[in-house]
């Protein structure tokens, strides 16, 4: 055995246990999630969201119970599994958060700026109504199969733009979403990243948002997930409710079609 093969053998010995540690770490994280699932604090957001949905609020003192989320006015059950979609009244493709803002403006009489001034909450004095409402609508789709339509030309257009954005490389790091989410086995620190180019990966990722983030003590929506991915990529800020945010959501939601919706989940 020459020196080089000896070195290779030694390196092999060092690396093998590390690979074992990697697998058991993700097993342990899975156990941690399972242990927390029982008392998921997302339920607190769901309860507050239901109150906000039913309360008469805003300048017109109206509730959101007549808000049409795609399946008819006031139909909440299964609505999240079919969003984003095209809405003829707004002549636009909308995700849930954008649709909620639209309903708050149309039904309750808020201005658009008021409705979306606090999309991501922080602590008990800056709670986000949109996060609570999203949690409530989302839980009403638990167990429903994802079925995002692509029938309208604007839906198809949004999907195509979302696809472009997913592969678009830019920013100081020359990153695209696909850089981290286009291969199996990638991770950030100890967090395994889903491969969003496979149906299984897209389903697993999309059907577990919104989620309660234990590290933040907050419930986070899918728009927040995209917003934070953009920050991590050192991209320009993704504007809440923008066409870009909706297009990317459309692309990822549609790719998750067939997966069973299972959120609000709990995440580290």
């Amino acid at each position: 055995m020459n020196r080089r093969t000896l070195l290779a053998a030694l390196v092999g010995i060092v690396i093998a246990p590390l690979a074992g540690a990697q697998a058991s770490t993700s097993d342990e994280i899975a156990k941690y999630r399972a242990a927390l699932q029982d008392g998921n604090p997302a339920e607190l957001w769901e309860a507050r969201g239901e109150d906000l949905w039913k309360q008469k609020r805003g300048p017109r003192a109206a509730s959101l119970e007549r808000c049409d989320l795609g399946s008819g006015p006031g139909v909440v059950k299964g609505a999240y599994a079919e969003l984003p979609r095209y809405f003829a009244d707004a002549d636009r493709v909308m995700d849930l958060e954008t649709r909620l803002v639209w309903c708050m403006v149309q039904l309750q009489g808020y201005t658009e700026a008021e409705a979306k001034k606090n999309p991501f909450g922080s602590g008990s004095d800056k709670r986000s109504d949109l996060e609570a409402l999203t949690a409530y609508i989302a839980v009403e789709s638990r167990g429903v199969k994802m079925n995002v339509p692509l029938a309208h030309s604007k839906e198809l257009e949004a999907y195509r733009i979302g696809e472009k954005l997913f592969y678009y490389r830019g920013g100081t790091h020359d990153f695209a979403c696909a850089t981290c989410h286009g291969e199996d086995g990638k991770r950030i620190r100890l967090q395994e990243l889903p491969n969003l180019m496979t149906a299984e990966g897209a389903q697993k990722a999309y059907t577990t948002w919104p989620a309660y983030r234990v590290s933040q003590g907050e419930l986070r929506t899918f728009e927040w997930r995209l917003h934070d991915c953009f920050r991590q990529q050192r991209f320009p800020e993704l504007v809440f409710g923008s066409d870009a945010a909706i297009a990317l959501t459309m692309y990822l939601a549609r790719n998750a079609n067939g997966g069973v919706f299972d959120a609000p989940a709990i995440k580290r």
Partner: protein, 103 residues
């Protein structure tokens, strides 16, 4: 006044399993805000659970308990339809009581 808790109580055999999800910030007093000022401690100090007026659990908590705490325990006794009351008092003297029916 605090935000409402979520309480589930189910009878299995001769024991009742209680699960309580509380809505509380649980500030440790160790954290600092963006201006570098210490965020004052604010956490649940005492917890009491009563079943038809009889105490089945009482506890003293400190700042090491997580935000939005989840408490799960079992006690012997209980019957379907009985009322269970959970009460917490926090370090600001704020308190909240919520009730649930054993299912």
């Amino acid at each position: 006044m605090g935000e409402p808790m979520k309480i589930r109580a189910t009878l299995t055999g001769d024991a009742t399993e209680v699960k309580v999800l509380m809505n509380h910030e649980m500030e440790t007093g160790q954290r600092k805000d963006a201006q570098g000022q210490t965020i004052p401690a604010w956490f649940i100090q005492t917890i009491g659970v009563t079943w038809t007026g009889k105490t089945v659990l009482s506890a003293q908590w400190g700042p090491a308990v997580a935000k939005n705490p989840f408490l799960s325990f079992k006690f012997k006794g209980g019957a379907k339809g009985d009322t269970l009351a959970v009460r917490w008092v926090d370090s600001r003297g704020d308190q909240r009581t919520d009730e649930a029916i054993i299912a």
